[in-house]
Amino acid sequence: MDAITVVGIAAMGFAGLTITIGSIAPAIAQGRAIQQALTAMAQQPDVHKPLAQTLFVGLAMLESLAIYCFVIAMILIFANPFWNYVIRTGS
């Protein structure tokens, strides 16, 4: 295998792995957060407004973890620093 193949396979493969593993954990965490918030809201409907507000902020925080992984995956595919190097050296 020449260098371009190796870099290509590594970049694509790890971009896929990054977004896969990186979205599993936030998905579980968000599910748990929503579950707890719904339980709390069902038990105390009076405080549902601040609960929903905190839930939104918390969900966005968890969401951003998945977004970090997405950013890394995008960089691996579209802005990979090794592509230019490999192409410049003519594989």
Partner: protein, 246 residues
């Protein structure tokens, strides 16, 4: 309509005008567009405001927006946090406008570039100690950094930097990912479905603007309320790996 290629992950890479080393990219152009829109809108809307008597519909709109923002800031940070209302509201309105205009074809939100979001996050990074020092004085503000004991000083510094990076990458990642999803969908299912995603994008843009403003308020309120006496309720978030590229 699309001015960005699919493999350009930031509007920084779209050069619109170049003269020697001086170049103007799409981020700058669209930031200026949003700024011009906001300044013109503010000038138009704030003419002829009245203290007494019948209130125009324009003024009612402004008072509703200002009142809602003030209420939010007060709920989050207590009465002391109202001093940061102008700063936080400016952040919110700028980010919200920049994101909401994404519905216009040919427009790329300047917040889809890491440069813009880094600048916004840096302004929060600077504003936090400024508000803290203005309220408590330099010495008692610095004492909060050495809270349990002096060995926690570097940890507080790291947390301050990490949350700034997180603030920048969160906004950038959300908006950029949405732009990319639209681009990919346009090339796969060009009819109808991208429109649904645009609606989702509007929701994401609004929530991200809200989150950014809320976090800025929480950080500033922590510096305002807790310097010197209590532990600082910091954003408990792991330091992310910072992508420098793009």
């Amino acid at each position: 309509m699309e001015i960005m290629d699919l493999n350009q992950i930031s509007p920084d890479q779209v050069i619109i005008w170049q003269y020697g080393d001086l170049m103007i990219n799409a981020t700058l152009v669209y930031t200026w567009l949003v700024m011009a829109l906001l300044v013109a809108g503010s000038l138009l809307l704030t003419r002829n405001l009245v203290h007494h008597g019948p209130v125009s519909r324009r003024q009612l709109l402004l008072e509703t927006i200002a009142g809602a923002l003030r209420q939010q800031v007060q709920d989050l940070g207590g009465a002391a946090a109202v001093v940061c209302l102008p700063f936080v509201s400016t952040l919110f309105i700028f980010i919200f406008t920049a994101n909401a205009l994404a519905l216009v074809p040919g427009y790329v939100p300047p917040t889809a570039s890491l440069s813009t979001t880094a600048a916004l996050a840096l302004s929060v990074f600077v504003a936090v100690p400024l508000y803290g020092i203005r309220r408590h004085g330099l010495w008692s503000y610095l004492k909060a950094y050495a809270h349990p004991n002096i060995f926690f000083f570097p940890l507080h510094l790291i947390s301050e930097c990490a949350r700034t990076i997180a603030l920048a990458v969160r906004l950038f990642g959300n908006i950029m990912s949405h732009e990319k999803i639209i681009g990919i969908l346009l090339s796969v299912v060009p009819l109808f479905f991208p429109a649904v995603m645009q609606v989702l994008g509007l929701v994401i843009g609004t929530i991200q603007a809200y989150i950014f403003a809320v976090l800025a308020t929480v950080y500033i309120a922590a510096a305002l309320n807790d310097a010197g006496d209590e532990s600082r309720p910091d954003d408990i978030q792991a330091a992310p790996t910072t992508p420098q590229g793009g």
